[in-house]
Amino acid sequence: MSGSIHVSLGDVAATLALVALAAAVSFWRRADLEEDIAVAAIRSFVQLTAIGYVIQLIFDADTIWLVLALLATMVLFGALTARNRARKVPGAFWPLLIGLAIAGASTLGLVVALGVFEATPRYLVPVGGMVIGNAMTASAVALNRLGDEVEGARGKIEATLALGATAQEAAAPFVRRALRSGMITLVDSTKTTGLIFFPGTMVGMLLAGADPTDAVRLQLILLYTLLGSVAIAGLVATTLAYRNFFTPAQQLREPPTLAG
């Protein structure tokens, strides 16, 4: 497959040897992940194959509406997936959904408006997928942290409310830490990119035979776009979600496990 972008099923099957190696390591060291590894390998094959056909369909149809439908579906499933990581946050679904939608729409809208990418399926589908995927991870981490922070600081939050502080004032330090933890992974990986690891887009372009300069520039565009999208998604999700911990009378709600 050198210098070519054609990848056969045989090539894919050959890399299953490494999946088998991972399963063997798990079995040998009793990590109890063999089943999960098998499920991951099968699910990734089925899901990526399916999305490959969907993308082909959208490319062939060449209409913006199908692109928007696909991105909306990604936002919906992203919010549902992230909600599972934010179980301690009451009503986390809507903050996540709105956060992902705004992050996706604003960052894609901006890069199109700036003329970086054309508003065609070939750009919007892959870039949109990366934007929404990263925004999902960041907002899930942020709300997961927010739930832990509020749970661990109930006394401090109530003591601050008891002084006549608003919910926003009482929650501010914890919302700030949650947003930071949502963003920090991408910020750190952006700092070390090219030194410690080569990001996927760049690797893909190099494998496909692109000029390294173009590969680097496209990768930078994507990294900067992703920074914007995770910031927006984290900001919107935490800003909307912290309110769900409080009543309109600025009281901290009972945690779900205690609420009778």
Partner: protein, 226 residues
């Protein structure tokens, strides 16, 4: 159950107040009056004392029944303004990160009050050099005093104190009690104190509400009940 008859200021009145938490009835049809001055809410652990205290500045609301403050239902007050007027100091110290002074400044700013750091520290029994101390460097007793100083920056009319000495050794407890007695002499402030210690209630209050199993079993002037 005695009423605060002819008392010039009934601060709080609870009428048939009930509240459950975690599926358990914590307060069960509690009716009681709390006059101006110093009131102790006493009773064994789990009697609902802290829960009752939280109702008085609306950190919680009852499921049924009414709580009145100065003759008006609490729900009619703006909760933020109410909490600056009726200030609750929780059982465990819970200061914000930073120095003692930054905590005092935060609280005073919320209430729109000018801040006199050394006065508030002195009232809480701390010397002025505590202002610059980081809260993480304070002992529990010092933190408890810093919490008290923080509440006093807002010049509240009522202090709600939830077991203010439960985490302290006897020397620190005596010092806090002396501070509270001094506060009452120096400021026109009412105190509602939760305590599981009848002796402390006797030392610090002149009206007692006794809870057991979520019910108010008696209330009245200290000398009548003891």
């Amino acid at each position: 159950m005695r009423a605060v008859r002819d008392h010039p200021a009934v601060l709080f009145e609870l009428r048939d107040v009930s509240l459950s938490r975690g599926g358990r009835r914590v307060l069960d049809s509690v009716s009681a009056e709390i006059p101006a001055g110093a009131t102790a809410i006493v009773g064994p652990s789990g009697a609902g004392k802290s829960t009752l205290l939280r109702l008085l500045n609306r950190l919680s609301d009852p499921e049924s029944g009414t709580v009145l403050y100065r003759g008006r239902p609490l729900a009619e007050y703006d909760p933020l303004a109410l909490r600056r007027e009726v200030s609750l100091v929780p059982q465990l110290p819970a200061l914000l990160e930073g120095t003692v002074e930054s905590n005092l400044r935060f609280a005073a700013g919320l209430a729109g009050e000018d801040l006199d750091v050394s006065r508030c520290l002195r009232l809480a029994g701390l010397s002025a050099d505590f202002a610059e101390r980081d809260v993480s460097q304070l002992s529990v007793g010092e933190q408890q005093r810093a919490m008290l100083a923080r509440a006093l920056t807002q010049r509240p009319g009522v202090l709600l104190l939830d077991e203010p000495t439960s985490a302290l050794d006897q020397a620190a407890r005596d010092a806090i009690e002396a501070t509270l007695a001094e506060l009452r002499r120096e400021l026109e402030i009412s105190i509602v104190l939760v305590s599981h210690d009848p002796e402390q209630a006797r030392r610090l209050s002149d009206w007692v509400v006794r809870l057991e199993g979520g019910r108010a079993i008696e209330s009245g002037p200290l000398e009548v009940l003891t």
